[in-house]
C-alpha cells in the first residue's frame, strides 16, 4: 500500500511519484495519511468502500484509491463528493467507459457540475470557464483523469490509445451558469430538482469555438453552429453524432430574448446539420463515386434532438460559444449522477 523511506525531502518525494509513472506529467501533491483521511472524510467515505467498477477491465475503484488520487491532484476534501459522482458516472454502463477511454480519438472526460455545490465550491462557470486559474475546476478534472490513469488502467500507450489526445485530457471540469440561463439547467432537464447537485460526464473530442458578433436572431447564429458541427472531418457522419454545445453570455442572451426554447434550438440544429451525399463522397467519408442524385441527397448527422446537449457557461462579454463534439450516441452516452451532499 505504501512505501516508507525516512529521508525523502519534498522535492525527492515529488520525483518519486514521477519515477513510478503515477503522474499525468505534472508534479503531484504527495499524499500523507492525514490528507488521505481528511479527503475521505470530505465525502463521508470509508477507504474500503467501492465507488464503481469497470467489469471488462477487471477494475474496482475503491474510495481509498480515489482519495489518494484526489490528494495528488490538489483537491480540497470538500471537492471529493464531486469526484466520486463523476467516477460513478464513468462506471455507469451507459457511459460504456472502455470505448471512449481507449479509443484512438483520445477523448477528454468532461465533468459539468450543476446545483448549489458548484457555487459553494467556487467551480467556475463564468469568464475562462474552460481555462486556467480556478482550483476547483483544475483539480476536480485532474483527479478524475488521475483516477482513470492509476485506477482504471487508462495509461497512454496501454489502454489509452489516443493518436493525438487533447489538452482537456489533463483536466476538464466546469459548472453551468444557472443564474443567467435562458432555460432550465442541465440537471433539471434530466429530472433533478434545482436544489440538488449533479455532475454530468461526457466524452469529448477537442472543443472548437463558434464566433458570431452580428446575429440578431437565432437562425443566423445557429447556422454557424450547424456549419461547425457537420464539418467533413467530424468523426460520426453516419447519423449517430452527438455534441455538447456551450452557449456563452451574448449568445445565450440572444436566445433568451428570442423566446426560442431549448427544444427549438435542437430541432433547428438537427434539421440544418446535414451534408449532401456528393459532399461526403468527394471527401471519401462515404465510399463510391458521385452519382446522379447525390448532389441533392441530404444526410443528417444527428438522429435525435436529444443527442445535442446544451449548457450555458462562459463570460458575459464576447461573441463566443463552443462545440464539443462527442463520441457518437451508439458508442457512449453522457451520464448525470447525483452528488451526495451533507
Amino acid at each position: 500500500m505504501s512505501t516508507s523511506r525516512d529521508d525523502y525531502d519534498a522535492w525527492e518525494l515529488i520525483e518519486a511519484y514521477f519515477e513510478r509513472g503515477w503522474t499525468d506529467g505534472l508534479p503531484v501533491v504527495p499524499p500523507t495519511e492525514k490528507s488521505i483521511a481528511l479527503m475521505l472524510a470530505g465525502a463521508g467515505l470509508a477507504g474500503h468502500e467501492t465507488i464503481g467498477e469497470i467489469p471488462e477491465r477487471g477494475v474496482v475503484v475503491s474510495a481509498e484509491k480515489l482519495a489518494i488520487n484526489a490528494v495528488m491532484a490538489g483537491c480540497r476534501p470538500d471537492y471529493l463528493p464531486v469526484v466520486v459522482a463523476a467516477v460513478r458516472g464513468l462506471c455507469h454502463p451507459h457511459f460504456a467507459y472502455h470505448g471512449p477511454a481507449s479509443s484512438t480519438g483520445g477523448s477528454a472526460m468532461v465533468s459539468i457540475v450543476n446545483g448549489p455545490i458548484a457555487r459553494r465550491l467556487g467551480i467556475n462557470s463564468g469568464n475562462n470557464a474552460f481555462g486556467q486559474g480556478t482550483r476547483a475546476n483544475a483539480t476536480i478534472g485532474r483527479a478524475v483523469r488521475l483516477t482513470m490513469m492509476n485506477v482504471m488502467n487508462t495509461r497512454p500507450g496501454f489502454l489509452d490509445r489516443a493518436t493525438l489526445g487533447n489538452p482537456g485530457k489533463y483536466s476538464f471540469c466546469f459548472s453551468e451558469n444557472e443564474a443567467q440561463h435562458p432555460w432550465e439547467p442541465l440537471h433539471v432537464e434530466r429530472g433533478h430538482r434545482p436544489e440538488q447537485s449533479t455532475v454530468t460526464v461526457y466524452a469529448s473530442n477537442s472543443l472548437y469555438q463558434v464566433y458570431n458578433q452580428l446575429a440578431a436572431s437565432p437562425e443566423p447564429l445557429l447556422r454557424c453552429f450547424a456549419d461547425a458541427l457537420c464539418n467533413l472531418g467530424t468523426p460520426n457522419l453516419r447519423g449517430f453524432n452527438q455534441s455538447l454545445i456551450v452557449l456563452a453570455g451574448e449568445h445565450s442572451d440572444l436566445l433568451r430574448q428570442s423566446g426560442w426554447s431549448k427544444h427549438d434550438v435542437r430541432r433547428f440544429l438537427v434539421e440544418h446539420c446535414r451534408r449532401t451525399l456528393a459532399d461526403l463522397k468527394r471527401a471519401a467519408r462515404r465510399p463510391g463515386a458521385v452519382e446522379p442524385g447525390d448532389e441533392s441527397a441530404w444526410k443528417h448527422i444527428f438522429e435525435r434532438p436529444e443527442d445535442i446537449l446544451i449548457v450555458c457557461a462562459g463570460g458575459q462579454a464576447g461573441s463566443w460559444s463552443a462545440c464539443l463534439p462527442g463520441w457518437g450516441n451508439k458508442w457512449t452516452r453522457s451520464v448525470t449522477t447525483l452528488i451526495a451532499t451533507s
Partner: protein, 92 residues
C-alpha cells in the same frame, strides 16, 4: 515520509479457451461485427475465403451495438446455438 501507491491492479480472471477444431469442413461459422467502418465487408470477405478454402458453412453475422459494448447475452446464446466457431473483432 511515505509514498502512497495510487494504482490498482486489475482483477485477474481465468478464461478457458474453447478447443480448436482440427478440421473446419462443414462447421458452422458465426460472425460478430463490431460496427467499425468496413468491418462487415472484411468479415464477409473472410467468410467467403473460409467457405472456399476450408468448406465451412456460413452462418449468421451478429452486429454489436458498438465496439464499446459487449455481445448481449441473447446474442451470445444464439451464437452458441447456431455456430460451431466464431470470428470476432475488427480493429482500426
Amino acid at each position: 515520509m511515505k509514498l502512497f501507491d495510487p494504482t490498482t491492479t486489475p482483477r485477474e480472471r481465468s478464461v478457458v479457451l474453447a478447443p480448436r477444431p482440427r478440421d473446419l469442413r462443414g462447421l458452422r461459422l458465426g460472425l460478430v461485427e463490431n460496427t467499425k467502418f468496413n468491418s462487415d465487408v472484411i468479415l464477409n470477405k473472410l467468410c467467403e475465403r473460409l467457405v472456399d478454402r476450408y468448406g465451412v458453412t456460413p452462418g449468421r453475422m451478429i452486429r454489436k451495438r458498438s465496439p464499446s459494448h459487449a455481445v448481449t447475452e441473447e446474442a451470445a446464446d444464439e451464437l452458441r446455438r447456431i455456430s460451431d466457431f466464431i470470428v470476432s473483432g475488427v480493429g482500426d
